[in-house]
Amino acid sequence: MDQHLLSIVLLTPLAGLAVLLFIPGKSKDLIRWWANLAAFAGFLVSLLLVSRFQTGTPGFQFEERVDWIPSLGAHYHIGMDGISLLLVMLTTLMGFVAILGSWNAVQDRSKEYYAMFLLLQTGMIGVFISLDFFLFYIFWELVLVPMYFIIGVWGGPRKLYAAIKFFLYTLAGSVLMLLGILTLYFQHYAQFHFYTFEISELIKTSLPLGLQQWVFWAFFVGFAIKVPMFPFHTWLPDAHVEAPTAGSVILAAVLLKMGTYGFLRFSLPLLPQASMDKTIVQVLAILSIVGIIYGALVCLMQQDWKKLVAYSSVSHLGFCTLGIFSMNPNGIAGSVIQQVNHGISTGMLFMVIGIIYERRHTRAIAEYGGLAHVMPKFAVIFAIAMLSSAGLPLLNGFIGEFTILQGAFEANRIWAAFAVTGVILGAAYLLWLYQRTMLGQVTNGKNLTIPDMSLREIATFVPLIAWAVWIGIYPKPYFDILQRPVAEIVERVRPGYFAGGRLAVTQPQPPTPNPQPPFSQPTLSGGDR
């Protein structure tokens, strides 16, 4: 079983889906129970990954490799490193939480609903563990269809517009990315005379810088739309606002990470010279910073609770991409941590909105006020979610943003200076939102009778809050997990980085195991060092 552990994690949701199809659509309870069970099982098996994962081992673990389409050179090749591990854990946990959170929200066509979610789970996990570009692309596209249905069938009033916009945007990006992949694939063939889509082989291709830049931009379009980076973000507010709660949760928590993950796994290692190209780094960093500030400013103007959180994603993801293009260990590790953080905190925020929307069926901020008096439990949980998103020390968001800013500072002080304003604005719009909705006197009579959160609803938040606090207080295990893969990426794009004596590492060769993390960790993270 150990050799196939990763396949089992990948296929558990699919197996759940296969059984689900045979449950008659009328027995709604059975469907709900089964879907939750399948998602929970998916989470449990993924826990095994954590226990078997060997921190600090170079390369990929749990690798499986089978020839799939020999004439194309496509393989069923999966494996994971620290980055994948964190994102897969995020996926399985958020998937379970999202499905649990839909218990009452979805009554109509529930069988199809849960089927779509389970399919989505497999697609997302697949994206994070594929080591073959063809396989990756298939999972990447596989995610689109269930998400289209989740938004399109169970979404809000403008669901059609939002669903097709989401689909078209991402598809347009990914087909252009496909051209980039094919260029790389063909260049590899021209040099080595065999076709392969394996990352480990493609990485050996030496491309002239000009071509690398073209391929980089092709990848960029695919990944940047998914993230979404600043000029490509317009699909996101629509999709988020119209999607059902669980759809928004998954969309924000996991789907957006596919883009950032793509940069880390493919753009940087496969196209190292282009990634370090001055213009490209400048453009991407500026787009990230614009995203951070623009997203935050737009948040300040929002009248709609959910739209506000949606735009906050643009801002937070700006931090993630800024971290990546700082091109140093702090930036990249911080970016991955921040991706997880954003998944946790924005996921929670969307669930908070889902809970209030189920009760009042409106998301206009003006409709609320003083809810803390009526719903004390809700107020506490919303406060935690909000503070974790705003980056309060001792909660997860702080660690990520801090490390990213450290990395950005190292790369370019001006970037860091601008990005910091995003943190301030982030606290502003979130606290203001909290104030307008929760504090003060109850201004709207309709809000007086809202029931507080039920036990099941609280249960969906417990694992997320626990995770947020853990990362906030003791992030060392996460940095340990990330240290190796991040060092490999940095060494790939900036050969000799660790030899420059800038940081603690003295060994010039990346594969040499090193007990010390090659970069300093945020010192506020606890007294463990």
Partner: protein, 496 residues
């Protein structure tokens, strides 16, 4: 010259002979055997004619398989009648596609024709005779053979498109198709005559030699090239010669539309490849810019015009126009990958497009035309199986993995990149995103809108079987394409 035909001659046309014999036999059975009368006077019994179709196709399949074995063991082309017919891997590959298409269409037709009240035996005969014409389109290497093959196929289709005699739309479609078809055939014949004038021979190999000896941009060659191209592009419904397609597709009985969109297009593509990679190979400098323009126009017209369609058959007609554009791109790339790409594309297109039309066939019920976008509203509530099958076919048509359609597009894009047609590749990929918009109009109608029509679907055993087969193949080619790719490998014999 051979005075006596050899065994190889007969062997090279064996499948076509079978098709012609059985096709004529069905016509005779239906018209009445002397002194006995029609053997199936009752229209409801005419579905038993399917047995003849099935037997014919078994013989054809057997013929193709033995030809393939002969090719593998002798490692040479099988030519017949002094080079008029050349059976190679390419021709056999396409003939398998025709066989599947004909069989599927025949099997699903009886219920549809009964509902339409036009169940006549000659329908099955025409299917076989059209397939006989296609055989020569895929294997012919002589202008006369090819021309006769084309006309045989086209004439059968003219009749079949107008098969609903009492339906105005069907009549109009047949008339349009006939007039425009005849017009384009005129162009083709003109081009052929010029080629004969250049070379003094009707054999493709001789023409190729003659054209090679001509200087580049020779006006006569150019004239021959353009006129031939017009005739051929008309047949594959490439813009600007696509006008007949939406009308013919809409008016024809849906089963015929399926056959027309798949088999006729595949045969014409085979013909096109034979001409452009055969005699016109050395005129590439002349036809490449021409075809690039046509392909871009075809993609644009097909994809943009499809957006506003509310009739599913018209929508699929425009979509099939855009697919012709993708096939042309494979030819423009013109390398091994490109030709293999066209072969793979035609194969997957056959299954997915047949499948999509079969769902439309099932929508035709007593008193309900079932071709409108509104007729599909809420299909997922009442008939989820059909809705999900349609979803698979539409995803495949759009080229979303892991369906077969992705593989077809994959090869086309790869070939374009290999031959450094980057700009073309970008345009072609962006049209994928446009295409998803109109395909998902159908998906939206099926899955998201409320149902309006409660009448049960007109399903029959044949239809279910055919739908199952096409859907399984559409998914199988997408998920495990290896055996199918090996099959398509044979088709690159054309380049050697």
């Amino acid at each position: 010259m051979n005075q006596y035909y050899t065994l190889a001659d007969h062997f090279s046309i064996l499948p076509a002979v079978m098709l012609a014999l059985f096709g004529c036999a069905i016509l005779l059975f239906d018209a009445g055997i002397p002194f006995v009368g029609p053997i199936f006077p009752d229209p409801r019994q005419r579905k038993w004619l399917l047995i003849f179709v099935a037997i014919a196709e078994i013989f054809v399949g057997y013929g193709l398989a033995t030809q393939q074995m002969w090719l593998t063991s002798n490692a040479a082309e099988l030519t017949g009648f002094g080079g008029s017919v050349t059976v190679d891997g390419f021709g056999i590959f396409f003939n398998w596609i025709f066989l599947v298409a004909a069989l599927v269409v025949a099997v699903v037709s009886y219920k549809y024709l009964e509902i339409a009240g036009e169940h006549h035996g000659e329908y099955y005969g025409l299917i076989l005779l059209a397939q006989c014409g296609m055989y020569f389109l895929a294997t012919g290497t002589d202008l006369v053979t090819l021309f006769i093959g084309l006309e045989l196929m086209a004439l059968c289709f003219y009749v079949m498109v107008g098969f609903l005699r009492t339906d105005k739309r069907s009549n109009e479609a047949a008339m349009k198709y006939l007039l425009l078809g005849a017009f384009s055939t005129g162009f083709l014949a003109y081009g052929f005559s010029l080629m004969y004038g250049i070379s003094g021979s009707t054999k493709l190999a001789d023409i190729a030699d003659a054209i090679t000896r001509r200087p580049a941009w020779d006006p006569v060659v150019f004239l021959a090239l353009t006129t031939t191209a017009v005739g051929l592009l008309f047949k594959i419904s490439a813009a600007p010669f696509h006008m007949w397609a939406p009308d013919a597709y809409e008016g024809a009985p849906t089963t015929v539309t399926a056959y027309l969109s798949v088999a006729s297009k595949a045969a014409s593509i085979a013909f096109l490849l034979r001409m452009f990679l055969g005699p016109l190979k050395d005129a590439r400098v002349m036809w490449e810019p021409l075809l690039i323009a046509v392909a871009l126009l075809t993609l644009t017209v097909g994809n943009l015009a499809a957006i506003n369609q509310t009739n599913i058959k018209r929508l699929l007609a425009y979509s099939s126009i855009s697919h012709a554009g993708y096939m042309l791109l494979g030819l423009i790339a013109g390398n091994d990958t490109g030709i293999k790409g066209v072969a793979v594309y035609v194969m997957v297109y056959t299954f997915m497009n047949l499948g999509a039309f079969l769902v439309v066939v099932a929508m035709r019920r007593q008193g309900i035309i079932g071709e409108d976008l509104d007729d599909f509203a809420g299909l997922a509530h009442r008939h989820p199986t059909y809705a999900y099958l349609m979803l698979i076919f539409l995803l495949s048509l759009a080229g979303i993995p892991p369906t077969a359609g992705f593989l077809g597009k994959y090869y086309i894009f790869l070939a374009l990149i290999q031959t450094q047609h980057y700009a073309l590749a970008v345009v072609a990929t962006l049209y994928v995103a446009v295409a998803i918009y109109y395909y998902f109009k159908i998906v939206h109608s099926m899955f998201i809108r409320e149902e309006t029509e409660k009448a049960p679907l007109a399903s029959s055993f044949g239809l279910q079987l055919a739908l199952g087969v096409t859907a399984v193949l559409t998914l199988a080619i997408g998920i495990y394409p290896e055996p199918f790719l090996n099959l398509a490998n044979n088709s690159t014999s054309l380049l050697r």
